[in-house]
């Protein structure tokens, strides 16, 4: 007889599919009766405990405690990071399929799907995009290249897309920069980085997956350096310039970084790889980008982190609030090494010291070494890459934001992926351990009318609607103050908190959660909480967490429902501050000036267009919170093809 239960993941101890049914035996009457009553009790309990959807929050500033819905019996497990050991990962992996997507496909209609397209985030007109490539500023234009599938809204047939902008916000699409037209990139024109030569010329080093699917490095450069739009690119006739070295597998050799000058006048750069399960950064020197010398040392290696994709390596000033050219190296700088981990699809960075002579990068704190410590972004964010913007003397960061819905929905809507708003990157001088990321200031040019709210009180267990008009394109700046008495009086405990393993915004603590409900409908049946949670240890010390809860972001079951976030350092005297960019299906949230950042993709079915609203909420049990906010409506960036391109001489 067919098994009609949902396909429960099989535990690792039972590697086989269920086979023959148990032999039928006549059970004694007693046992049958007790089984029957047992089931009845369970059924009754289940009926009692199942929540009615939507009324988890009390609305309109009522003072009653929030009704927290108990977890429905079919709540999926929160997705944990893939473990680094293969054996331990087996049952996790079988759970992964259904950890955060379940039940029926949602009947997405065109109205819901077309709402999802962003108004001011970079995305091509259609189809699939992934990694940012070779960003640079040249002759008055910011250039952005990207991994692109011209044929479908899923990964494949990868080539380089291209767009330009005067201000990193208003983008104009250009023709494809490079396609897979040589044996050395036949299987894919993959990620690469640009380097400026002293005479101002550009060289692009990129990975080609060649006709045999071997990863090689190729050189390309603009066909015409006098063309400010850099439309045409030429590939060096002697490509590939680098092939996988001995000891490195042909499938583990990709994503060369921007090069930096050594004191000997050579160019140096890194390529990520792995040796068994140890992620490594290989180092090469070159004088001409044609002949290369592989250095013996590894810039850094960290056990158990797996393949290092999209390595990025750059200096940050210890004293100044501007960016530094990639070649800068002196006692006033620290270096940052960043990697994208293939194993868990997250971007990690570490702050440390670069020694040119020894060819080493030593992190300041080995406990938070490359790949095991801080992340750029605790949500959906990968393959990030920085460039030095010589136009405004800043270091600018790009990051790929994939979809969190089903491939079927991507096929239906005809596109997949956006880029984050470019962010400036600075060393956080106050902590010394974190980087500060902040949307580039040019985004302020999109601000339209604003709404100010001063010292709004949100009692423990309440929700306050914010009247801001349409709530799908917003720039929100907020500061929160929590009741000081409550902070002192709260009892500490040893229980460790983490956003991802918590019950989300409905799990009440003494001092949190509190924050914003973004993309929420009036009845709050759909909402995305972006919030703080303060945990008090048994030693009285306070730890602040910053989270984004997707679990009730949409009634559609076929979208990811994880809770993202991390601890955020809050220093003495600092208020809790938050900036949130809401742009249809993407939410970018910055806590404490960008010390901790979370990007998420949200696909509401009801909280769309005019029905999307914004609320403040405070689900703490013991503390009142007051919030001051300034909120702007955001204009579209009108990203579109470059006009009249055919008239330009090519």
């Amino acid at each position: 007889m067919a098994d009609t239960r949902p396909f429960l993941p099989v535990s690792s101890s039972d590697g086989s599919i269920p086979s023959e049914p148990l032999a039928n035996r006549r059970k004694p009457m007693k046992v049958q009766l007790s089984i029957f009553f047992g089931l009845l009790t369970v059924g009754l309990l289940a009926a009692l405990l199942t929540s009615n959807n939507g009324s988890d929050f009390v609305t309109d500033n009522e003072h009653g405690p929030l009704v927290s819905s108990t977890t429905a019996t079919t709540k999926p497990e929160t997705l944990q990071a893939v473990s680094r050991g293969p054996a331990a990962g087996v049952s996790e992996k079988s759970n992964r399929l259904f950890a955060d997507e379940n039940t029926v496909a949602f009947p997405w209609n065109n109205s819901m799907l077309s709402w999802q397209r962003t108004a001011f985030h970079f995305q091509p007109e259609r189809n699939w995009m992934n990694d940012p490539n070779g960003p640079l500023f040249y002759k008055g234009w910011y250039h952005f290249f990207y991994q692109y599938n011209p044929h479908a809204p899923v990964w494949g047939d990868i080539v380089w897309g291209h767009a330009v902008s005067k201000d990193l916000i208003h983008w104009l699409h250009l023709p494809l920069a490079m396609v897979a037209d040589h044996t050395y990139d036949k299987s894919g024109v993959w990620t690469g980085s640009a380097t400026f030569l002293p005479d101002g010329k550009i060289v692009m080093l990129y990975t080609g997956s060649n006709a045999d699917a071997v990863q090689v490095q190729n050189l390309a450069y603009p066909a015409d350096h006098s063309d400010p739009l850099l439309i045409n690119w030429v590939k060096y006739s002697g490509n590939p310039v680098l092939v996988p070295p001995p000891g490195i597998l042909s499938k583990d050799f990709r994503d060369p970084t921007t090069a930096w000058l050594t004191s000997e006048g050579k160019w140096r750069f890194s390529i990520g790889s792995k040796i068994n399960k140890t992620g490594v950064a290989l180092v090469y020197d070159t004088k001409d980008f044609i002949n290369y010398e592989k250095l013996d040392g590894l810039l850094r290696a960290v056990d158990g982190t797996g393949m290092w994709e999209c390595v990025d390596f750059f200096p940050v000033s210890k004293t100044e609030e501007n960016g530094l050219d990639t070649s800068v190296n002196n006692p006033d700088v620290k270096h940052v090494m960043k990697v994208s981990l293939d194993d868990d699809r997250h971007d990690y960075y570490a702050v440390g010291t670069y020694n040119e002579k020894n060819v080493t990068f030593i992190p300041d704190d080995p406990e938070i070494d490359v790949g095991i410590g801080l992340r750029y972004d605790y949500g959906v964010y990968y393959a990030a890459k920085t460039f030095y913007d010589q136009n405004k003397n800043r270091r600018v960061l790009w990051g790929w934001i994939g979809e969190s819905d089903s491939e079927a929905a991507d096929l239906q809507k005809g596109w997949a992926s956006v880029q984050s708003i470019p962010r400036t990157v600075l060393l956080d001088k106050k902590t010394g351990t974190h980087l500060l990321q902040w949307p580039v200031e040019e985004i302020d040019s999109l601000r339209l009318n604003s709404y100010e709210f001063n010292q709004v009180t949100i009692q423990a267990g309440s929700v306050v609607p914010l009247e801001v008009g349409p709530a799908t394109q917003l720039d929100i700046m907020a500061e929160f103050e929590i009741d000081k008495e409550a902070l002192e009086k709260a009892t500490g405990s040893n229980v460790t908190f983490s956003c991802s393993s918590s019950g989300g915004a409905i799990e009440r603590g003494a001092l949190g959660p509190f924050g914003l409900l973004v993309l929420a409908d009036d009845s709050l049946s759909e909402r995305t909480p972006v919030y703080f949670y303060i945990a008090k240890g048994s030693d009285g010390n306070l730890k602040t967490f910053f989270c984004n809860d997707q679990s009730r972001s949409s009634v559609a079951p076929d979208v990811k429902k994880q809770i993202y976030g991390s601890m955020v350092p809050v220093l003495k005297g600092e208020n809790l501050s938050l900036r949130v960019l809401v742009d249809h299906s993407i939410i970018e949230s910055f806590a404490q000036g960008g010390r901790t950042v979370i990007t998420s993709r949200t696909y509401p079915t009801k909280a769309i267009y005019g029905a999307a609203k914004l609320f403040l909420f405070n689900n703490a049990t013991e503390a009142g919170v007051s919030a001051s906010l300034k909120i702007w409506q955001m204009n579209s960036a009108f990203i579109r093809p470059y006009p009249n391109l055919d008239n330009k001489s090519q």
Partner: protein, 174 residues
Amino acid sequence: MTKIISLLVLQVLFCFTFFPLSYSSNSLVETTCKQTPFFDLCVSTLESDPQSSTAAVSGLALIAAKSVNAKASATLYQISTLLGSATDPNLKKALSGCVDSYNTIIKTDIPVAVEAIEKNNPKFAVGSATDAGNEAQRCEDGFGGKSPNSPISDSNKMVHDLSVILQSIASLLL
């Protein structure tokens, strides 16, 4: 009596001759399948393809992808046949949803997985395999436990489990 004993001896000899042989061959298949939650299904699926005895892990991943495709195609045929003769509106609705799910698996998920494995960018194969398993689940859940029950549970479970196997093997390539 002696006949029985000699039969037994023959039996034992038979086992000891052939058992170690089958035990030692295809150890890459077995090591690989141990890292999936469906060991027996994985082994039988991979070994049904003669190439599995000489394939590397990426080759085994491709065999796994082919098996998902084959089972999904057969299931799609099954669904179309059922749809042709169905009269119950709930059944028809669920079966139509399944057509969509299986089209996604066959036309998108598997081709993306194959390309990702062949071009050595396995994380996209992991993602697509996950998606394929989800689509099989979605198809099954479309029958919602209401009457009539799903007529294709076995097939959906098979496609789901084969997708999990593909996902697990592709993860080994990361």
